[in-house]
């Protein structure tokens, strides 16, 4: 059994006087202990809503169905109080924007010790020492001084380090990182990502890394789930995905990554259309309106996630298919331009 098993997760937002919006439409994925799993997709594909649903942080207007089993217990049916007790201790989250995710009027020390004292029985002084240690672990120079400072005295990269320290404070077994480097300068992104993966690997924490950046995925993830229209359209090991992408959306994404070694004058190759051109999954492939390979077969009902013939891996119940895609006309072999960044 995996540490986290998300099955057929659906999130619908009800709005007064308007049609409901389905943000997540049957997402299933799992995360083993100590594994780093990527959720990749463009804006609006349901990445963040999935993570908030797992954490139980969606507003009341959201209707969540399916199951989110963490270590065997379904978090969706847990009473709010019991879930709150697990948040921060068993599962924690790193958010996208470090500039707004810290309380501006409290010192870093206060914000760090608060989590520690909420979930452990450390005393004030012990929690404070632990806070200094945590700041040192995430590479904040002079942590003894920094612990008494306020968020506005730190740069964005430093603040994200602090947020990582807070998330790791109680040694959770799972961390959900929602675009943890998107709001940072490119030069800082790699550092922060490195730090995050190093810490996660060191402590054996599992991580769900949510991103739209394939470069981030290539550098960090063990497994990758590609999301489109609120569903997983392809799931594979990292190397396998970059070497043999199967779903047409995945190949489109990989082809769209600009490359330094491309011949001069080569233009960017974006995926045409936008996420709003959705087909409901019940009627066929949601990506088909934007897909060059789509035909009537793609628009005749629900498409199952099927393991490709190339792997021949076990697909028995309970076992995860090593590489599966939800595509009628999957790409075979290598993509137009193989993702060399996978290595």
């Amino acid at each position: 059994m995996s540490l986290l098993e998300v099955e057929d997760l659906r999130v619908r937002f009800t709005r007064r006087g308007a049609a409901d919006v389905t943000a997540v439409d049957g997402v299933s994925f799992s995360v083993d202990a100590g594994e780093v799993v990527g959720l990749v997709g463009e804006s609006g594909c349901g990445k963040s809503v999935t993570s908030l649903a797992v954490m139980g942080l969606l507003p009341r207007t959201a209707r969540v169905t399916g199951s989110v089993r963490f270590d065997g217990t379904d978090l969706l049916t847990l009473p709010p109080r019991a879930l709150a007790a697990r948040r921060g201790r068993d599962l924690a989250m790193v958010f996208q924007d470090p500039m707004t995710s810290l309380n501006p009027v409290l010192t870093l020390g206060r914000q760090l010790t608060e989590v520690l004292r909420a979930h452990t029985d450390l005393g004030r002084a012990a929690a404070r020492r632990e806070a200094v240690d945590l700041l040192a672990r995430v590479g904040i120079p002079d942590p003894r001084r920094r612990v008494g400072e306020y968020p506005h005295q730190l740069s964005g990269g430093m603040r994200q380090r602090v947020l990582i320290a807070i998330a790791l404070a109680c040694s959770p077994r799972l961390i959900i990182a929602d675009e943890p480097t998107t709001a940072l300068d490119v030069t800082i992104q790699a550092q922060v990502l490195d730090l995050l993966t190093t810490l996660v690997r060191e402590s054996g924490t599992a991580m769900v890394l949510i991103t739209h950046d394939l470069g981030v995925v290539a550098g960090t993830c063990d497994r990758v789930n590609v999301l489109y229209g609120g569903r997983v359209v392809e799931t594979a090991g990292r190397r396998e995905l970059f070497a043999h992408p199967r779903h047409r959306y995945t190949t489109g994404l990989l082809a769209a990554v600009p490359r330094v070694d491309a011949p001069e004058g080569t233009g960017l190759r974006p995926v045409p259309g936008s996420v709003r051109d959705l087909l409901p999954w019940a009627r066929g492939c949601a990506f088909s309106p934007r897909c060059a390979h789509a035909d009537d077969a793609c628009r005749s009902g629900d498409i199952a996630l099927t393991a490709g013939p190339a792997d021949g891996g076990p697909t028995g119940t309970g076992e995860r298919a090593p590489h599966a895609a939800r595509c009628v006309h999957p790409a075979s072999g290598t993509p137009a331009r193989a993702g060399g960044g996978a290595a």
């Binding site: 954490m55 942080l57 709150a84 007790a85 697990r86 948040r87 921060g88 201790r89 924690a92 989250m93 958010f95 924007d97 707004t100 995710s101 810290l102 309380n103 501006p104 009027v105 409290l106 010192t107 020390g109 206060r110 608060e114 989590v115 909420a118 979930h119 003894r144 001084r145 612990v147 008494g148 400072e149 306020y150 506005h152 005295q153 947020l163 807070i166 998330a167």
Partner: protein, 305 residues
């Protein structure tokens, strides 16, 4: 004064805090660079000083009517060597009366604002922190209170409770309750959707802890500003209530509002009897307003001066 005392920073809470750190310190630095703020602070400080030191500063005891014999139906003695500002119409030293008048204004103003702030903030905290039907119930009551003009509300409360300085305080406090309740509730509501609150929830902190430990401290700025501004109104309302005869019934308590009433029938012979207490009220209110406005700008993170 409440404002000034609250300003020295939360660095005391965090002993390791470096100097110059913290939002309060930054606000204090900005406040010191604003001439209007300094003027307000000086006026407020003077007012407090006079009120506290009235027994030392005043040349005589208040409301003695010692020199009643010198007051005639047609004239009130003006400034002289013994009485720098002359006598009042009851034969007491005018300067002494003015100095002691600061006392009652300060005490009533501060106590009523403190009560109004405490009750209003508690209601706002419940409404904004719990939400749902609690919010609806509290805010409807507050709306009703708010629909009655402040002075009219104060007059009604004072009339119901009878004439005493306690009823004046409660009357003014009652008029302030809705202001603080709405302010704090709005501030809490605006924070609810912020990233840091979501981040705190993701750490498994209880709602109560988030509201009291995080959202409330984030709201102290606007509440502090409002309290300073409301003090200005309170000083005026104290005078207004005693002008209307709803003040402290004890005639020997010196009060600027009552001095105005007594000056009414002698406006032609001795205009200073009305002008001086009037000026005291106006200047004190101005001081609090200047300080409050300056404080508002100093605490506003968007103001970069």
């Amino acid at each position: 004064m409440t404002a000034l005392e609250a300003l020295p920073d939360p660095g005391q809470v965090e002993p390791t805090g470096t100097s110059g750190a913290g939002p309060w310190r930054a606000a204090w630095r900005r406040l010191r660079r604003d001439p209007a703020g300094i003027a307000g602070a000086v006026i407020v400080a003077l007012f407090v000083l006079v009120a506290v030191l009235a027994p030392v500063l005043a040349p005589y005891r208040p409301a003695t009517a010692e020199w009643f014999g010198q007051v005639t139906p047609t004239s009130v003695p003006g400034p002289s060597a013994e009485h720098p500002l002359g006598l009042d119409s009851f034969g007491s030293d005018l300067l002494t009366q003015l100095l002691y008048g600061a006392r009652s204004s300060l005490v009533i103003g501060v106590v009523s604002t403190a009560v109004g702030l405490a009750v209003g903030a508690a209601l706002g905290l419940l409404a904004g922190g719990i939400g749902g039907w609690v919010d609806t119930a509290i805010m409807r009551v507050v709306d009703v209170l708010l629909s009655i003009p402040a002075l009219l509300l104060a007059v009604s409360v004072a009339a119901v409770l009878g004439r005493s300085s306690t009823s004046v305080m409660l009357a003014i406090a009652a008029a302030q309750v809705p202001v603080f309740a709405r302010l704090l509730r709005a501030s809490l509501l605006s924070q609810r959707g912020q990233d840091y609150v979501l981040a705190l929830r993701s750490l498994g902190l209880r709602q109560r802890r988030i509201v009291l430990g995080h959202m409330l401290p984030n709201s102290t700025g606007p509440v502090l500003v409002q309290a300073t501004l409301v003090l200005a109104t309170a000083v005026i309302e104290v005078a207004a209530l005693s002008f209307l005869g709803l003040g402290d019934p004890e005639p020997r308590v010196a009060e600027w509002g009552r001095m105005l009433v007594r000056a009414q029938d002698r406006l032609e012979q001795a205009p200073q009897l009305a002008l001086l207490p009037g000026a005291c009220i106006a200047v004190t209110a101005l001081g609090f307003t200047l300080l409050g406005e300056s404080l508002r700008q100093a605490l506003d993170p968007r103001s970069t001066r």
